[in-house]
Structure formats: structure tokens, C-alpha cells
Amino acid sequence: MSTEARRRLMRDFKRLQNDPPGGISGAPCPDNILLWNAVIFGPADTPFEDGTFKLALQFDENYPNKPPSVKFISKMFHPNVYANGELCLDILQNRWSPTYDVAAILTSIQSLLHDPNPNSPANAEAANLYRENRKEYIRRVKEVVEHSWE
């Protein structure tokens, strides 16, 4: 069944194929166009470098009027990512705009990795370490980077 949301997701996929941002890829699951799998590489010159982080994006028929729910499948240690992998990102919540597409969402998440917002912490430990003990923060991040290769 072709609905507005599905047609829009097809266009998003086409754009992601034709004009992909660096170190990002994503595609709908073969059996469900509303569920996407995606991979984000950790940005260079950050502790997340070399990480290959897997994500799942769940859309619904209200897309693009409503944002998808996005989740890290790979283990993540980041001030704005909950223990269950869910993200605390304004553009996926109250600052969502229907002009965003999958490429924009994934690029935003990639830039969130190297630019966390410790003022709205989803992971208190990560936020504290990020503020107070950067060395330990980096060590813990490197752990999840290694974990992401498995």
C-alpha cells in the first residue's frame, strides 16, 4: 500500500543513495519499509572515531509530520543516549520539523556524537565524566567503539 509516509520514505532512500553524507548509510528493512536500519561512523578526531554504530529507526504513517523513534542497537556511552539506546535529541522531539529527512536525522546524530549536550543528560554517568573526568570518559567511549566492531 502506497501512502504519503511510504512515498516520502522512498524519496528519502533515493536521496540517501544518490547523495549520501560521509560515513553514514541506511536502508529500510526488506520486509518493512517503516523500519530502517542505519550505520553511523564515529566522527574523525573524536573519541568515537572508528566506531561503526548501528541504529534502528521506526517510522509511522504520520511521518514526516511526526519524527521517527530512533534507537542505538550498538552499545553506546554518551551523555544524551539512554541505557536502552534511545536518544535525547531536540530535533527528534519538540524541535522536529517535517522538512527533515533520514539523511538529516542521521547527520544530526553523527554530529551529536562529537558535540554532546551535558545539560540535558540521558546518561548521568557519561555526562558527569564528560564534564569532570574527560580522560575516563574517553576511555569508556573507546570501549563502546571496540564493542561496535563485533
Binding site: M1, Q17, N18, D19, G23, R95, S97, A104
Partner: protein
């Protein structure tokens, strides 16, 4: 907005389709199959043309649905959307009357006016797309030939290279398309004169009522008012729905959602050059109803899932093989994308 420069990747006209590792296994993906090119030898002019034209096309596409404008409506803040997209959620008080691009807030959706110039441009562009693409391909071929000859003949190889780089930018496509747009601007001017006359007659500066006047004289369509559902009981709502020929079942919220979606559909249809019949609108409504129902079922599932969130993750952990291949392909793809960006 938080996402800015970093999230709008630069477009390169030479972004050819990759040797995609993502094999398309299902029907719904086959739609995009034409943008996948399986071997590098296949990177043809057609792809180049498509990319060059895509820059031009992106100017003619709505930033909400990412498709060509369907009944383009422009706002005070100079942003344009399809009639349906512009009123996307106007019952939602939080985001309802904000411009999706800049966040400018409106007091009423009548502050959008129909942009006939863009509509004509799209019409003209669509009917000439093939010849524009063909001309672009021809121009490109000629440039390549020239470039090769220059390279072979000239001693200053570097100079010719820089020249050739300059020439091979997608100007070929845009200049040709300019012809098309000029034509349509010209055409629009003719239309505009007629409109101007009427405007002075009407003594009205607003575009919307003007368009409305022209149209209502043809087919007697006028917009339906926004309704304050909060003041209504279920019986009144049911009557409202019955008046429009819509199904009158479901909870109050469902009925409100159905009615407001219909009003949105109806009002954007009023702006269309060739408005749909009411029967067609009701068919669209049925489609929406089906999607909406499956969505609600999904929502219920999602709620269940969020309650047992760890289970959802576990399903990825327990059966990592389910998407293992896809993730492996995605990692390869991301590597290719990264390298491409670095070399670009």
C-alpha cells in the same frame, strides 16, 4: 534550528550512483531500482544528467514531501509548500501554524497564497524534461570531446584541465532549463496581465481572494472554516461527519482527526487548478483511514514495545542474524560514502 551547515551535505553534480552493495529484495524497493547501477561501466550520461538536473529539480520540490510542488502555496516568510503539506497539522496547537522551514508562526492558513509562477514553471519543466536532459547529455558529450582534444593537443595540461572542470559543471543543464523557465515566465506574464486587470477591478491586494474569485466563478468551490471541536459533543461531531459523507464511528478523538484531515484535504483541493471531485476526495479519505488504522495498531504495538524495551533490544541481540547481512552491507556502504566525501 539546531541542524545547519553540517546536516545539509554539499551536492556534487558528479555524485554517480555507486556500485551499491544493497541488493534490492522486495517490491517496494524496486521503485528505486533505476537509481542503482550495478557496475561502474554503467555510470552513463543518464546518471550525470539526472544529478545535474536534480539540483534544478530540488528548487521545484517541496521540502516537506520532497516531491514536485502539488498546488504550491507561498507564505509571508517566502517559503513554499504543497497546499496539503503547508497545512500539515494545523490542529496541533504546538506546531500547527508554524512554517516548517523557518518557524514563522501564522494566525491563519489563509496567509498562504497560491504561487502560480512556480506551478507554471513545474508544468513547463515536466513537459520539457526529456528534451532538457537530452540537450544536457549532448552538451556534455561535446564538452568531453573538446576536453579530450584539448588535453591531447595542448602542452599546458593543467590549464586545460582547470578549464574543463569549469566547463563541465552542470551549467549545460541549467542554461537549457532557463530557456524553459523563461518561456513559462513569459507565459505567466500574459496570464499576469489578465490578473492585474482583474485585481484593479477588485481593488484588492491579496492574491488569495483574487484566485478564489476566479475559481469560484468557475466551479463554486470555497474553503470550509476551521472548527472548534472542543465545543462539540459526539452527536454534533457525528452529524458533521455525516454531512461530508464520512464514516461516523470511533472515539471522539478519532472522529476529530478524521474530520480535520478531511477539511485540510478539502481546503487544499480548493486551491488546485483542476480540483478533484468529492468522490475522489472521499477515496483519498478511505486510503488515509486504512493507513491510519494500521498505524493505530502499530502505535499500540509500539507502546507495548516501549514497556518492554529491553525485550526489543534483546530481539536484536537474540537474533542478530536477522539484520546481520543488511548491517554488513550498510557498513560497506558507509565506508564508500566516507571515502567519496573525502576525495570530493
Amino acid at each position: 534550528m539546531q541542524y545547519s551547515a553540517s546536516t545539509t551535505p554539499l551536492r556534487s553534480p558528479y555524485m554517480s550512483s555507486s556500485t551499491s552493495a544493497l541488493h534490492l529484495r522486495v517490491d517496494f524497493v524496486s521503485e528505486v531500482a533505476h537509481c542503482h547501477i550495478n557496475s561502474p561501466q554503467h555510470i552513463t550520461r543518464q546518471v550525470d544528467t539526472e544529478c545535474a538536473l536534480s539540483e534544478l529539480e530540488s528548487e521545484l520540490k517541496c521540502s516537506v514531501c520532497k516531491d514536485f510542488y502539488d498546488v504550491p502555496m507561498s507564505s509571508k516568510c517566502q517559503h513554499t509548500f504543497c497546499a496539503e503539506c503547508a497545512k500539515f497539522d494545523y490542529n496541533n496547537k504546538k506546531t500547527g501554524l508554524c512554517c516548517p522551514t523557518c518557524g514563522y508562526s501564522f494566525t491563519s492558513f489563509t496567509q498562504f497564497y497560491k504561487n502560480t509562477l512556480i506551478e507554471d514553471l513545474i508544468k513547463e519543466y515536466k513537459s520539457n524534461r526529456e528534451s532538457i536532459a537530452h540537450l544536457y547529455a549532448l552538451g556534455k558529450q561535446a564538452e568531453e570531446r573538446e576536453c579530450r582534444e584539448e588535453k591531447e593537443g595542448s602542452i599546458k595540461a593543467t590549464n586545460s584541465n582547470s578549464n574543463c572542470n569549469f566547463n563541465s559543471s552542470p551549467f549545460g543543464g541549467t542554461t537549457k532549463s532557463k530557456c524553459a523557465s523563461e518561456k513559462s515566465i513569459h507565459k505567466n506574464d500574459n496570464d499576469g496581465n489578465g490578473q492585474k486587470r482583474k485585481r484593479t477591478d477588485d481593488n484588492d491586494n491579496k492574491l488569495l481572494p483574487l484566485n478564489k474569485n476566479i475559481r469560484t466563478s468557475n466551479n463554486q468551490l470555497c474553503k470550509k472554516p476551521k472548527i472548534a471541536y472542543g465545543l462539540m459533543n459526539e452527536k454534533k461531531l457525528k452529524n458533521l461527519l455525516k454531512e461530508e459523507g464520512l464514516p461516523a464511528y470511533g472515539s471522539k478523538n478519532e472522529m476529530i482527526a478524521r474530520h480535520s484531515y478531511f477539511i485540510n484535504l478539502y481546503n487544499s483541493n480548493v486551491d488546485a487548478t483542476i480540483p478533484k471531485s468529492k468522490g475522489e476526495l472521499l477515496r483519498d479519505m478511505k486510503k488515509w483511514e486504512r493507513a491510519h488504522q494500521s498505524n493505530e495498531a502499530k502505535d499500540a504495538n509500539l507502546i507495548k514495545k516501549t514497556l518492554t524495551n529491553s525485550e526489543e533490544i534483546n530481539s536484536y541481540v537474540i537474533s542478530p542474524n536477522k539484520y546481520r547481512n543488511q548491517f554488513a552491507e550498510l557498513i560497506q556502504q558507509a565506508k564508500i560514502n566516507k571515502r567519496r566525501r573525502e576525495t570530493a
